[in-house]
Symmetry: C3
Subunit: 399 residues, 3 copies
Amino acid sequence: MNPFRFILTDVSRNHWVSDWSLDSETLPLKTSQPWKIRKTRLHGGLQDGVDLIEVDNGVFSFSVIPTRGMGIGRGSYRGHALGWDSPVRDLVHPAFVELNDRGGLGWLKGFNEWIVRCGLSSNGAPGTDVVIDNNGNEAQVFLPLHGKIANTPARFVEVQIQQEPPFQITVRGVVEESMLFGPALRLTSEISTELGSNALHLSDQVTNLNSTPEELELLYHCNYGPPFLEQDAAVLAPTRTLSPRDARAQEDLTTYDRFRAPTEGYVEQVYFYELLGSPQTQQTQVLLKNASGSLGTSLHFSLEQMPCFSLWKNTASQENGYVTGLEPGTNYPNPKRFEREQGRVVVLQGGETRNYALTLAVHEGRDAVRELERQIEALQRSAEAQVLLAPDARLSAAG
Amino acid sequence: MNPFRFILTDVSRNHWVSDWSLDSETLPLKTSQPWKIRKTRLHGGLQDGVDLIEVDNGVFSFSVIPTRGMGIGRGSYRGHALGWDSPVRDLVHPAFVELNDRGGLGWLKGFNEWIVRCGLSSNGAPGTDVVIDNNGNEAQVFLPLHGKIANTPARFVEVQIQQEPPFQITVRGVVEESMLFGPALRLTSEISTELGSNALHLSDQVTNLNSTPEELELLYHCNYGPPFLEQDAAVLAPTRTLSPRDARAQEDLTTYDRFRAPTEGYVEQVYFYELLGSPQTQQTQVLLKNASGSLGTSLHFSLEQMPCFSLWKNTASQENGYVTGLEPGTNYPNPKRFEREQGRVVVLQGGETRNYALTLAVHEGRDAVRELERQIEALQRSAEAQVLLAPDARLSAAG
Amino acid sequence: MNPFRFILTDVSRNHWVSDWSLDSETLPLKTSQPWKIRKTRLHGGLQDGVDLIEVDNGVFSFSVIPTRGMGIGRGSYRGHALGWDSPVRDLVHPAFVELNDRGGLGWLKGFNEWIVRCGLSSNGAPGTDVVIDNNGNEAQVFLPLHGKIANTPARFVEVQIQQEPPFQITVRGVVEESMLFGPALRLTSEISTELGSNALHLSDQVTNLNSTPEELELLYHCNYGPPFLEQDAAVLAPTRTLSPRDARAQEDLTTYDRFRAPTEGYVEQVYFYELLGSPQTQQTQVLLKNASGSLGTSLHFSLEQMPCFSLWKNTASQENGYVTGLEPGTNYPNPKRFEREQGRVVVLQGGETRNYALTLAVHEGRDAVRELERQIEALQRSAEAQVLLAPDARLSAAG
């Protein structure tokens, strides 16, 4: 049977649905698992004009924000919150975000999602870059923090519901980051989950709409607070090399994989990983587990697609934003110029499409968490982890 | 009896009311005074998406603009207009204001209110500042004119109507100016008036939402054109010292407290006051009166809360914006860096709240105006006014 | 008989109509020519909140975009498309355009119209300028590409339909580009066509709302792709002088008036014209015709109003934006500072209004196209065209 499809937004036809919902009662499926999906437009404050899609597969719920580049707002798995509490409390409409404000840190005025893409043309720390302008000349431009995609609304959004096992619910969106005389990149994102599942899948395609080569930087900023993040929570990853970004990260190098309780005045620490993956598939996974090992969340991705992994530790006070970011990407979040010099900026030929897939799962109970640990240990067997004592000049621009 | 309450916006519940009204017929109170309050959403042009609340206490009407940081658009007391005619005619939605445009003067594209708050993290002339960035390092940032609060929409708005004398009508709004790795300041503003009263009260709280110290600059830019401003109108204030901001203000120092008719090619003149207040309460007041002394408007505030007062004279042509600004604040509107050096930037500890109150009243008839003058004369008795002939290096960065 | 009038937007009365239409059935006129006009608000994606007015005179259709400064989106004459395919596919709401982004090229994120005005206070390449600030001092400001008018929504919009021959349909809009202490310029635009006509008329007034002199730069960026633009399409213009903007334009000087097929990696070439007009009226015209001469489109305007004409050749690949721009203006699109030095910035006295008129017509069939060519040849008779081999230092800042 074909999946049920409902189109929420199609800008090319000026089609847009303000409010809509569907659930296990209005679309009966051959399963007893209750589920629902609801689309709303938010009104008032900084959220005014933001479209929100809330998905609940019965045990796992999360929200997709088409207006913010198909980012994922918050999730909840059997009552365990996925995401974090940012000082920015609302889902900020891009109209209120001036990316170039405050030395290029304007992006931080809208930052509070669980999963936010950084890119597409650039991401990472603000910095100047040299581009070819409309006259064919080199021109210096300033690239603000983390690029534009999270503040670009989707021009097409649809919901698909598979009407046979495993009853996958998919939100599909198309976001275009384009301009004349510059990058024209299309993100086609499928965000899906199966009824009753503990997992969320992001299956993204990035297409260069130009006929000439364009650069791509893509990083998934996946952010966690309690209950996954807490004192003595830990991150486990099959590691080829681990290095501190800078002197600040060096300070706590011996405990790089462990987290503190909320700490007044804590300054962020960032660690750059080169990961190990399956020799056959280059698939890898990273685990964040709570202190007792009774709860964990994992990221699964391909090192061919995303060879870089960054760990952002920001165990500041709860008020200031107690959070850690697990960040697989095509690059490390350095200024783009540095990443290009290091050969880590993807070049898409004219019309070329690349795929990026990321699965996020939640694991409840010691056995389930331990099973993930075993898988990571197995991946680690191919090489011993090297922990570099100082920033690696290849990986860090701030070292 | 509890006040009548109606919530117009509550972003945390995605509650927002597009259009609403209430008046003495639909909510009868034990008074014969007619009144009304009306909430609308504006559509079209630069106003598209702006929320407006119009309050009329029977003799005094004014508008509150939640979308523009709870600023006060225009007022009218018994037919006397409060406010001014700016070249910017519409209530501009923040989406159309790029604060960093034109050397940091983008704020002026939306400036036409009667009362507009400048702040919260910074206000005053544009300038570079040094902040601590997410890496704990000093970073240079550019702070545009008068900060963000006037271009930040309220996330919570409610109306309260007291159902017993003095029948106070209150519009309460919450605006948050926050970002990760930066200021997170909450303004909770209560804007109120009593039925039949000649006064408007602003009772503002500013709370540091972070657990770490944050800076605050708050200035109330209260702006008047005719009929309060006219040739030979005058400003009266109990003055400890008065000094010109710069050479331009020095030119007309002998007539600093008197106003010109609209004057082609007039360039603004700004005077900085250190005021005198009641020795007991530190309360002070300032009066703007018309030429004949038959009409006046006063500001009442505490020098403990707002030790700085600036007088902005901009008696340009009617077309270019014939206006004067009476500006009580925590600081003078110099670049923030200068104000910090002079010890005039407020530091809020983590979680700390400070209160700021301002009452604006209108006085009709010579007797009423004369009574205000007498009160100001009484405050002046504690010291003789010193008029400095040149800019005071402590007060003016432009001197 | 008075024309039928319908007001779609009047911000001063908070009047705005979301969706509306009228046609030959709902407003019968004494003609058999069917016609229609439709106003919609767009929703979703980058178009969210954009107002669109589609006009069809029976043979010629086009769209007016009040939200984007009364620009003209796309047209179609008897099935021939007017406009082009930009990498920016949607009608972008100004809230998503940060003009100062990317070295002042943010305007290109919203650029896809058939006809877009550049101005009003400035247009042309980004650059620094010196203005007089609120303190009467010289201040350096950065002027981004092509100014603000195309990203400023109209505060008044009405439709007028003449109820007797020639049954003109007019969309009239008022857009104000204003700020305190800066330019305050009002554009009043009447965009009209007659039923069954092959022509579109833009009749614009620009008024200086200030009482003091203000500068004006106005350029009409009229952009064409296929079927008017194709390999061996040509541009014809009565030419006093023709000069290349820069070395890149110099490369193909001998074929400046002919176009290439879509060309991978093509870098734009710009030519500056001083045109010849009728000695009596100073009216002139420019023709773009397809390769076979069976289809053409012409621009008609006054050299008194717009003495400058620029030809923008951007025959890049179809994907990257295959387009040519015919650009009559008060100036050439150099940085404003250069244009001022060359005496090409208009100064409007306080309250002064200037008129700018532009007619665009489509010509089907060899005879019709040939007739236009004859008219241009006639205008050419008064002087021989001088083709300068190198950039003219008077006309080009990039030479």
